[in-house]
Subunit: 228 residues, 2 copies
């Protein structure tokens, strides 16, 4: 097996394309590249418009434009923002904005369910695919009966198919519990199409189960007759 | 085995501490963090003093100070440079300076022997440990009879023990060829201490060989006598 990074031959175990040395080298690179501090010689400050009193979040235009095509358009196309060094970011808390900017510098963030949702929305808005993937992975891995309806609603708003599919499995596994919940009643009222999609998924899974059961019975019948 | 990055359990094959998903995640992080372009909204330009006509190398103070304690001292301690946005870098070609700055942004550079030496010197001067390690690894891996004396001399100038040790092995393996070379004559004239160190290493290896040979003979003698 040849290492894709250095070309040396190595024994192929778990990682298909990289030798151990290059793997360690990748980890060191992350530390090296993630060392820039947003506040060091910053040339722009962002304010969370929901939370302006909390203060500015300093950053560098060069970093923002390299991570987000939305910031690129904002700063490079002579829009109002490109001339200013103060940018107001709408519909976001200071905490989320600060973590968002920090992620752009370090590719690191400590998530919980609510925070992952908030950052997923920011990643979608500013088209930061790496953060979107990061939050998506967290949201799918941490889906449970309690958060499934809210996560499903959020995912639909942002067309996140992977989360929608995973949430539908959890929801349709827990229909009896969920239909008595407040979130369910709220969703039925606000967005009936989403509730219909849930029932369609439920019906589809139910039919597949019935098919599997029918097929199992037939196989069983065949076996039975074979042994008769 | 538990993954050091995500805490999930995985089968322990070649990489001791990280699961496959986290390994892939590290690779994606490197791409994400290495995307900033030195020329985008730069706030400082560097000139290679040996090669000023070749033009400026743009950069960001924030990136330079986060990668190099020398740049940190230069820009943060109200030295002359901190007030200026033009910095002259001594004893370096434009090509090397450009590659050096690019490495600070991407952690990537394509090396050959001569270029690795030039960048090793820059890494040493600006205390960029990650680049120093990178060049050192390359220089050790690419040592041969032809470049051993020059690499040895460079390593001595910068106190790079790992390269010195590796070069001494190659040199002492090829003493008969090397002592007739121009580089040898030059080194003898310019830095006789280094030539003496070579001979001391040669003597030491030679004595070890003799010891091994003597010990082998003794063992052989003992075996012989055992079978007698």
């Amino acid at each position: 097996m040849r290492c894709k990074s250095c070309g040396s031959s190595f024994q192929d175990y778990y990682y298909a394309d990289t030798c151990k040395q290059c793997h360690e080298h990748h980890k060191a690179k992350v530390v090296f590249l993630g060392a820039t501090h947003p506040a060091s010689f910053s040339d722009v400050v962002l304010f969370a418009s929901d939370d302006e009193a909390a203060g500015p979040v300093p950053a560098h235009k060069a970093v923002l434009v390299s991570r987000s095509p939305v910031f690129r358009a904002m700063f490079e196309n002579e829009m109002e923002e490109s001339l200013s060094s103060t940018i107001k970011i709408g519909e976001v808390s200071y905490r989320t904005l600060d973590a968002f900017v920090n992620f752009l510098y370090t590719a690191e963030v400590r998530l919980d369910q609510q925070f992952a949702c908030a950052l997923f929305v920011m990643a979608e808005k500013y088209q930061v695919q790496h953060l979107k993937d990061y939050c998506q992975k967290f949201l799918v891995a941490n889906l449970n009966c309690d958060n499934s309806l809210l996560t499903y609603t959020l995912a639909h708003r942002h067309n996140a198919k992977q989360i929608i599919d995973a949430a539908l499995i959890v929801i349709t596994d827990n229909m009896d519990k969920l239909t008595s919940r407040k979130e369910y009643a709220k969703l039925k009222e606000k967005d009936p199409q989403l509730v219909i999609e849930i029932y369609e998924a439920f019906l589809s899974r139910h039919s597949s189960f019935s098919c599997v059961r029918t097929v199992s019975y037939s196989v069983y019948d065949v076996c039975e007759s074979d042994f008769a």
